[in-house]
Each structure stands twice: as C-alpha cells, then as structure tokens.
C-alpha cells in the first residue's frame, strides 16, 4: 500500500480549509454588498441577451390599458400609471433561448418587474404577445411588456433592462429612440 507523508496531507487540508473559508467569506460579502451593474445602451440601440438582439421601439405611458377584445380597459392602482414597452427581438443563436427577462429601470436604478406577475393586468387581453417563446432564427418578432409604476416616476424612466440570471455580466439597459 502506497504511503503519503503527513506534511503533504496537512498541506492539502490547509488548502481545502483556506478555500472553504474564502468561499464562505465571499458568499457573505456578496450577500451584503451585491448591487446590480448595468450597461446603458445609446437611445434606439439594441442589446444582446441569450443569443437574441432586443430593441426597444417605444415606451408609452397610459392611465388606461386597452383590451383587445373590446372589454373593460385595465385601470392602474391608485397613484400609478401603466408603462407599455414595445420591443422587437431577433434570435441569432439557435442554441440559446430568449426568456423575456425584462425589467423597467427608473431613477436610482429602481426596477419594476412586468405587471402581469403582480397585478390584475393579466385579466386584460392585449393584441400583442407579452413573451414570444421559441423564436425563429433571424425573424424579427414584436412583443410588449407592461409595467405599473408610481406616476411620479413616469418622467424619469431610463429604459428596459434585459435580465439574464445565468451570467454575472453587466445587465444591458436598452432605450427607445425618443428618450
């Protein structure tokens, strides 16, 4: 049976311990100090995420959300306003799939997730899809994302963040041509 020196064993143990301590420290530090980082694109320019180029065509404010079926328009919560982001996506990489991870970015990097996740806006039928899945390669597809924000921030919006939780790279923020 092959024998190993104690010194080598102690070195290995010390290395494992040092790596463990570093990992615990790093996780704790990151938990305390983590702040998202952004890369702001020029107005009208597209941003790339998950093998797809996404462009923000318009960012429209409204206090009513029109229903495609002619039904009751969606009203925002008191003191809030709808923000409708019209986007265009072009998939370039067939190996990756665009997952529609969008967030509206406002002053001091406030972020709002699409409203349908949190509000009754899901009950309003819209003519444009909110998340087109399984995009064809090189075929532009338009979709929209709805947000509900306090009305006082409506004039201070920066653009749409294209989230990709699988990477530590800066999150791209795209802006409409008009902003």
């Amino acid at each position: 049976m092959r024998m190993l020196p104690v010194r080598r064993i102690l070195l290995v143990v010390a290395a494992v311990t040092a790596v463990s301590i570093y990992l615990i420290w790093w996780v704790t530090y990151a938990g305390i100090h983590y702040t998202p980082r952004y890369s702001l694109r020029p107005a009208g320019a597209s941003g790339d995420v998950q093998g797809t180029s996404v462009r923000l065509l318009s960012l429209i404010r409204s206090d009513k959300l029109a229903a495609a079926d002619g039904g009751q328009p969606g009203s925002p919560e008191p003191g809030a306003i709808w923000i409708v982001a019209e986007l265009e996506a072009v998939r370039h990489d067939p190996a990756k799939e665009f997952l529609c991870g969008t967030e509206l970015v406002g002053p001091e990097w406030r972020r709002w997730t699409p409203a349908s996740l949190f509000t009754a806006s899901a009950g309003v039928q819209r003519s444009m899809p909110s998340c087109p899945l399984d995009l064809s390669v090189d075929q532009p597809v338009r979709f929209e994302a709805l947000f509900l924000v306090p009305a006082r921030y409506a004039n201070q919006l920066l653009g749409i963040a294209l989230r990709d939780d699988s990477t530590a790279a800066r999150t791209t923020v795209i802006r409409p041509p008009a902003l």
Partner: protein, 190 residues
C-alpha cells in the same frame, strides 16, 4: 511518518463532510442566524431596509370566510392582522415570512398566509391570518422577515400586538363568529 492513500481520502472526505454539514446546519436553522431586530408598535411605521411596515388592525374570530365562502372553523381562534408594507427606497420591500411569537411559542401563518411584498414606490396592504390557541396569546408579537435561504444580513420586524394579561380575557370573549380577511391592495406611495 506516512499514511495510506485510502486513509487520506477518508480524512479529506470527513473534513469535507464536516464543512458541508456546518454550512448546511447554519443555513437551515434560522434561529442560529444573526439578524437585527426592529421593534415596533401597532399604528406606528417601523423603518426597515428598503421601506417601512405598519400594523394597523387586529381582528379575531372562530369562523374563517375567504373567497366568498366559509373556509374553516376552529376551537381556538383566528387572528387577522392588517399589515401595510411601503417600499420607500429604490429596492423592493420583501418581508414575506410572517409568524406570531408568544414566549417560546411560535405560530406560523395559516395555510399559505404570508407577509408583505411591495415594489419600489408602492405600498401594499395585506391581511395576515393565524390560528392560535386562546390560552397562549399573552404578549403576542408579529414577526416579519425574509424568506431567503442565502443572505448576508437580515432584519426582522417585531411588533407587539398589545395583548396583555389584563385584556387577554377580553380578546378571548371577542373571538366568536365570522372573520373575513380582505384581498391584498396596492397603491403608489402618496
């Protein structure tokens, strides 16, 4: 001095298991976590990271009505606590875990009843439901915190509900009949 290779593997595996177990135990036992306690009182906003939270109302009953029908009844008492969370800062307010404390006793939220979440610039009001034992409501305190497993720093808000030995019997007597929690409401912070 030399050691067999198989023994070295065993030693390293044991060390790795101890490290993993320690981390696992630390993460899975929230009471072992260090956290900051923010104390508050009913009717007054308690300031926390990312916003503030206020308890405005406490109701009790024995029959729970939800979604337009009788949901449940109890030999104990249902307690409905109205909580408003306001995300005054740039980040969401996430106090999703709610429980009631009375001495060593802990009551978790009834069924899926949880705490409060608000997006930046909004305030959300929720009715949090608990089922409690009438004999153990002395000094009841609502605790709100985060549900996250991995976190570097956490705050917990503790708000005393004003139930004392002097008025405990009055609460028990009041806890008769129907009680209906309201649906969550959200509005922009004025």
């Amino acid at each position: 001095m030399r050691m067999a290779q198989s023994r070295l593997v065993g030693v390293l595996a044991a060390i790795a298991l101890v490290v993993v177990s320690t981390i696992g135990l630390r993460l899975s036992d929230p009471e072992e976590q260090k956290f900051e306690v923010i104390n508050g009182v009913v009717g007054e906003p308690a300031k926390v990271n990312n916003g503030e939270v206020t308890v405005t109302e406490l109701r009790v009953g024995t029959i729970l009505k939800q979604f337009g029908r009788i949901q449940d009844s109890t030999d104990g008492m249902f307690m409905v606590i109205r909580v408003t969370g306001a995300a005054t800062g740039p980040r969401p307010l996430e106090l999703n875990a709610a429980r009631l404390l009375s001495g060593d006793l802990r009551y978790e939220g009834y069924q899926s009843s949880s705490g409060v979440h608000a997006e930046p610039g909004f305030e959300t009001t929720v009715d949090v439901v608990f089922e409690v034992a009438p004999a153990h409501i002395d000094d009841l305190t609502l605790e709100l915190g985060s549900n996250e497993v991995l976190r570097g720093y956490q705050q917990r808000v503790r708000i005393k509900l004003g139930i004392t030995p002097a008025n405990m019997e009055q609460w028990r007597t009041t806890a008769r009949g129907l009680i209906e929690p309201m649906t969550d409401t959200t509005r922009a912070i004025p």
